[in-house]
Structure formats: C-alpha cells, structure tokens
Symmetry: C2
Subunit: 479 residues, 2 copies
C-alpha cells in the first residue's frame, strides 16, 4: 500500500514538536519513544504498518484543542484514533503524523431517560455505552462485531453498523449531536438532544467522515428501550442463491427482523470445527432474529418460517430456550475467529441491494476459482451489507497482492450492481483508490472541496478516503 | 421582511434572459406575463410577497439542467419551488430571480418492493408517493400536515416530518438517494438504494438544505410495510404542565407510539366550534396513537393508559371502532383550519427536548399576555416539535410586526432550553436572522463555506437561511 513520502522538514523538527506537545499536555500523555509508539503503527488492518512521529493521549476536549492548535501551527498531520479496530486502515499513521488517541476520554457526561439520550466522551467503548444505561433497561442500538473494544469515536468516523442495524439503523440514525475540535483548535457543537438542525445539517456530513473534518470528542447518542425479548431461528439451504432469495422474500413481505445473518459453506465448516455450534452441513445458513413481546415474536416467526418453507430448507430450527438461542448465535459470533484459525484473512465490507445477493454470491464464487484464493461469506444480509473474508497466506510472497486484487474486484462488483464500496468499515487506506469506481470526478471534487472548508491545509488523517494522487495534490497545493 | 435590492442589470436584461430560457424549454414552460407570475409571488407564508422575474416549469432533469446553465451564465438567481406550501417563505422569490417549479415532474420512475424503495421525480406530492405503493400494502412514512399538496422536493429541502415521525423518523431517515442538478447545470447522483456512502455523506447535507446547494429532481425513498392496524387514545388534562409530564413519562418508559399529538385550550375550543369532534372542555389534550397487531395495540395502550392515570386525566377515551378513531383525529386535523376561522395566524415551528414541554408552554402563555396576542398550541409532542399558532389581524397596523416579535421570542426560548429554531418548516426568510441565536459566528461561517462549494456565486435561493446581511455580503463578494 503506497503511502506519501514523509515531509523531511517535519521529521527534522520532531524534538521541537514533541516539546511543544509536552507543554500543553501532562507528561504521560505524549509518547515519542519508538518502542512505545509501536502500538500505534497499525490498526486492525495489520497487513500495513508505519511508525508515527509521536502519539498523544489527551483527556479532555480542551487538551485535544491544544494539541490541534500546536499541530496546525507546525503544519503537522494528525491521525485521530479511537480504539484502533479499523479494518480499513482508518487510523494508520504516516511517518510525519501525530496519532491523536481518545482512549483516555471515556466518561459518561449525562444520561437523560426523559429525552432518551446519553452524552459521552468518544473514547468510550460501544458496549459500555449500553452498559451505562442497562440498569434502566435502555440500550444503544448500533452493535459492530468489535463492540467490546471499538470506541464511539471510530463508530462515528466510520458510520458503523452491526448485526441489529437492519431494524435500528446505523450510527448516523442514532447520533444526535457532537462536540468537535476543528484542525485549528476551534471547538464547535453540532446538533444536540433536539430534533432537526437549522440551516445545513453538518451532523450528517460529519458522521462517516473518517476523521477528515475534525476530531469528535463528545457525542450525544439516542438510547432505546430494550425489547421484552428476542428469538432467533436457524435455516439451512441447498445453495447461496436459494438463501439469498429467502432473504429477499422476507424483506419484500415487509417483515423487519432485527437481524438476518448469512453464512456460506466455507464459513459454516470453519465455524463448526472451531466452535461446534451444531450447525447443519449445508451450503448456506441464515440466522433470522425477531424481538418484541412473546406474542409479537410468535407472530413474526410464524410468517418468516412460512416464507422459509417455500424455499425447501434443509434445516429449520426454532430456538426453544435461552440456551438454544445462544447456541444458534455462537457459530455466527465465532465465524471471524474460526476463519482466522485456517489462515490469514482480509475482511471486506461492501453493500448491495438485497435483491442482488444471489448474483453477487455466485460471482464471488467464480472469482474465488479465478484467483485461486478461498473466500468465506458471513454478513448482514438483511440490509445487503456483505463481508467476504478472503483467505491468504501473509508469508507467501505475492499472496497479499493477489488478495488485494481479488478484494478490489468484489468491491467493484458491489458498485456495479448498485451498491457501495463500504458499509460500515469506511474507505480508509484500503479502498481510497477504488473511490473512482463509485464516483465521477465531479462528485469527488465536491467531497474534496467540502474537506477544504474544514481542513484547508489537509492535515487531518492524511492519505485516507480520497485517491492518494488526488489528496496528495491537494495537500501539496495547500502548503 | 427586508429583501435585498434587485440587481438592476438583471431587470434590464429580462427580455434577453426570458428568450434564452424559451430557447431551452417548451413554449408553455416559461411564464413571464406579470399576471401569470402572480401565482409565484409567495408560498404559504402569505404575509410576504414579491413578483419574480419569471417562472419556469421544466419537465425533466435535462430541462432543469438547461435552465440552471442559462441562469448560471447570466448570473440570475434561482428560487427552487416544490408545491409552494412552505410556511417559512422557503420558496419566496426576489424581483431578479427565476422561480424554478418542479410541479410538472411528478412521475414514479421505479418501485422495488424487494429492496424496499420507490424512485420518483420530486414534483410528486407526498401523499401520492404512498398512493403509488398502497396496492402492495406499503407506504412512505413522513407525513407533513400538508401531505395532500406538498411535494417531495420541498420535503427534502426542509427535512419535513409529520405526526407519525416519532416512530418512523423525518425525511432524512427515509431518504436513500437523490439526483441533483448543481447551479452550473452539472447533474450529480448522491446515495442510492444501498446502505451507506463512501467518503463524505453528502446526502445528509443535502436533506434540509432548503434549495441552497442544488435542485433535487429525483429521489429514492425508503418504503415500509403498512402496520396491521392503529388505534388512538384521547386524554384530557387539567393543565399543560400535567399533559407535558404525561408525554415525558410515556417516552421515559421507553414506549414508542407512532404519534403523540398535543392541543391546548385555545386550540381545543376553536376546534370544537369548527369541527365538533366531541373533545372535552379541558386545558390540554393528548392524542396518543399506537400501531401493530391487535395484541401489540392492546399491550401498548394498556401501558400508556396506566401512565396517563397517574396524572389524573379529566378524560380518557379509547377508540372502540374505526369511526371513533376518525373522530378523535378529526379535531386534530381540523385545528389549523379552525384557528384560521378566528383570525389570521402565524404558525411557528421549533423543537425542544421533550422534558422542557411544561416550562416552554408556561412561558409561551406568559408571553401571550405580554404581547397581547392569543396563541394556540397544537403540535407533535412526542418528539418535541412545537407549532405555536399566534393569532393576529393582518389588517390592523402593527399587528404583524408584534406577531413577528412574539414568534422570535418563542423561537429564542426553544434554543435557550436546548432546542432548535426549526423542526420541519425550515429557516427560509422567516428565521434567517434568528440563526445567530442558534449558532456561533464560526458555525455559521462553516455552513456558508459549504454553500460556497456548491454555489460559489450564491445564486441559489437567495436571501434565505443565512442572516440577510451575511448572505448579501457573500453574494456581492462573489459577483
């Protein structure tokens, strides 16, 4: 993965820059020892690494503002980092950049059940946001697979989703307001606990902007009442196509389960070997979960099972207890780990219209043969958010490059059938050069001109999101 | 209401500009006869009028593009217009502007039940979008009071809501993609039938942008399955405060009705005299509607009624039939008409955190005495979207100005308690000078810089949204 050449003037001024950062932060909040900064060389896209100039761990909006003011004056790029769980390299540093981690900012600032929101510092993990309102039977809906570890900062940056987003929407549907520090250190508040925005709705723009527009330090999040109960049903089918049609039919019937998860044979096999969830040996599995009162659950499952039967399932297993429900979910939740036991893998993330599932799965199977790399599919089928896992051997020369080429073809296919390059992982460094398959040059130009407004010097999260040549040209022009 | 002085150079070139528009549109699509353009002198904020230079009624995206190209070259401002139902003057012309009406663009382009969307031209009315999918038992959720007349174009421009948006969200939560013509005539597509956006999410920015960024000609909208049934319950209370607390308690309990509508005594009285819906003579009424299967409806109503009882209602009327449901809604739906029988009124639109309802209603009552103008409150209480109706006499000198001053005080109060100047009507000309109460100068500067990106000459929908002095300065600087 190409990265821009570091600015030698910044590298040569490292000591001075670090000294300035130390003057505005507590001593232990500035990390410049190359041994210690190793932890910040990559995020969860571990195939690519780069040491940063230094890392800082501010503990408040004021400290973030002070850091950005220094970096702005010194012309130093800044890479905002939540928990570092990005699968797209969204928090990968450049050699001349400061990593700005929000991990120390994890306080709950306000909970308000009457107005149904919680306000938190963005270093707080996704799971512990729900944890903070659990006592009152509320929860925060978006639930990325990494929810134990990932931070709200990253959720906002990537507009993260999760298995239950079919019903509750993704981050942008659950974010009410933010406090954000601009690159020049100015602190702005956008949105709030109220409905709507006067004038241009910048909140929608900031959600999913991958740290390109500012550093979000506080977030006001919608909380929801927990449903009375939930129950999954497991379905096995003879082919991916048939399973895909079953998903389409459920959606078309106007039923809205909280989750429709899909696994294909390679994933089912790997998962069974790893977790022993008792899945049937078939071509494709669906886990469909519904929630509500007991009556609502019964009524929804009845309709879903009737639809499934029209597709001649080889297995149809309703959960009869909490233990059975947990077992049905066990395999799905172990799938990534199970695939990782087999080999290195790259987890892709693209979205497609639900009706294209059968076609896209068939084409991925064909490509797998062409590239000679195995692929497993485990994903949120209800909203068409695919996560193909391509297996490769990181130690085999050329395998990573082949895997990248295969991944690019899959994502191009997503765009071709009317989908999007990214569902919830973001563009990061991984997909920046594929942006031209999604957008016309004019569309990209508008996006970059909007970035100009917020970050005219192009210092925020460099070498991400936009094609490298384009963002490099922009950065150099601004110098 | 101050409007900028028209550009004399444009007025003097009217014949030439109209001739150029005629060269790119069918003969009957360009209206410049001052008698015929009278229909475009105002929108539903009828207190303010201004004749436009001319009006055009293109029938396709290509024709919109051709019109904008001409206007861009000629430096002529353009005021996009949906159905002209704006209550904030969002479609009010200036003397040197062309009205671009999308009324002829009302086709359904695609319906797709499998992927749950409909694609329409934006001149189509809100109600007829639902009409187009009714056969298959689907509907489009946002339901502004003006839904029989208002166009999707205006719904997108103002991010419109409606009575049922408590459950389903407002326009931005139901909009998947747009085709938009930029001021220079370029056509861009943003979003689509798929989940998420790669890079910056411009769709969220465009929704609610009040025609400041481009002319949206096509929209891809989420459609939902109709619920099995719905049923309202009518509750009467001794005071606005108690009714407000009841709303807060329902929300706090985590119940999500589809609608919680609120009427105060002046509205109840006017409505009873006008429509005879059989409402009790009390201080405040709530209409709470729930939906789902019969069992779901029963279960929700039971919890809601239990909460209501703790507030000692003077009336608690469950609907026992479709007729009784219609009668409960009859008064609410007649409220605006009923108030209009009493006097001229100005309908405000602000949002507040739900918990502030009692305080805000009390303060509005006090202000009503101070200003000597009656006010009725009828609004979407569940999501804190207030619609105070201030009564005044348009023929009485000074009354309009007093009404404007009163309205401004109410909206300032909304902002003060943590709310927003606008819920679903937009800023338009009505609230542009109040934007400084909501935003710091730096926040407004960012919004205006984003507008610069899309419309560098500031030709789109002039004199709206931003404080007049600020937008005027921007426009003059760009000349």
């Amino acid at each position: 993965m190409d990265m821009p050449a570091p600015n030698p003037a910044i590298l040569s001024r490292k000591a001075q820059i670090v000294a300035r950062l130390r003057s505005v932060l507590p001593a232990d909040a500035v990390i410049d020892d190359p041994v210690e900064t190793r932890a910040y060389e990559c995020d969860a896209l571990t195939a690519y690494r780069c040491p940063p100039l230094a890392a800082v761990l501010p503990a408040s909006t004021e400290e973030v503002s002070a850091v950005l003011r220094v970096c702005h004056e010194e012309g130093v790029p800044v890479v905002p980092r939540g928990a570092g769980t990005s699968l797209a390299g969204g928090a990968m540093p450049t050699e001349d950049a400061i990593i700005l981690g929000v991990a120390r900012m994890n306080e709950v600032l306000e909970t308000d059940y009457e107005n149904r929101f919680i306000r938190v510092q963005t270093g707080r993990t996704n799971m512990s946001v729900s944890g903070a309102v659990e006592e009152e039977d509320f929860f925060y809906a978006p639930d990325p697979s990494s929810q134990l570890a990932c931070a709200i900062a990253g959720n906002i940056a990537m507009n993260s989703g999760g298995a239950h987003c079919l019903k509750y929407g993704v981050t942008t549907n659950n974010l009410l307001g933010v406090k954000m520090v601009m690159m020049d250190g100015e602190v702005v508040e956008i949105g709030g606990a109220h409905l709507d925005a006067a004038g241009l709705d910048l909140l929608g723009l900031i959600c999913g902007s991958e740290g390109q527009l500012g550093v979000v330090t506080e977030a006001t999040l919608r909380i929801l009442r927990k449903p009375e109960g939930a129950r999954p049903v497991l379905m096995g089918f003879d082919s991916n196509e048939v399973a895909g049609h079953c998903v389409s039919d459920i959606i078309k019937a106007g039923i809205l389960p909280v989750a429709i998860e899909f696994m294909d044979r390679p994933c089912i096999r790997a998962t069974e070997a790893f977790a022993g969830a008792g899945y049937p040996d078939c071509e494709a599995l669906l886990i469909v979960e519904v929630e509500g009162s007991e009556e609502e659950i019964e009524a929804q499952l009845e309709r879903i099972i009737a639809i499934a039967r029209t597709h001649n399932p080889v297995e149809l297993r309703e959960s009869g207890s909490a233990e059975e429900s947990a077992k049905i979910w066990l395999g799905r939740k172990s799938a990534f780990g199970a695939m990782g036991q087999i080999n290195d893998y790259m987890c892709l993330d693209g979205t497609i219209p639900v009706s294209q599932l059968p076609l896209v799965l068939r084409r991925i199977g064909e490509m797998s043969k062409d590239f000679g790399l195995d692929v497993g599919n485990v994903f949120h089928a209800g909203d068409g958010n695919m996560h193909p896992l391509i297996l490769f051997d990181a130690n085999k020369p050329g395998d990573l490059e082949k895997c990248e080429a295969f991944g690019a073809e899959i994502l191009k296919l997503c765009v071709e059938v009317g989908g999007c390059l990214t569902g919830e992982h973001g563009v990061g460094i991984e997909k920046r050069d594929l942006m031209v398959t999604q957008y016309e040059p004019g569309d990209l130009e508008i996006q970059m001109a909007v970035k100009d407004v917020f970050d005219p010097k192009w210092l925020l999260n460099p070498a991400k999101v936009f094609p490298l040549a384009a963002s490099d040209a922009r950065r150099i022009a601004a110098e």
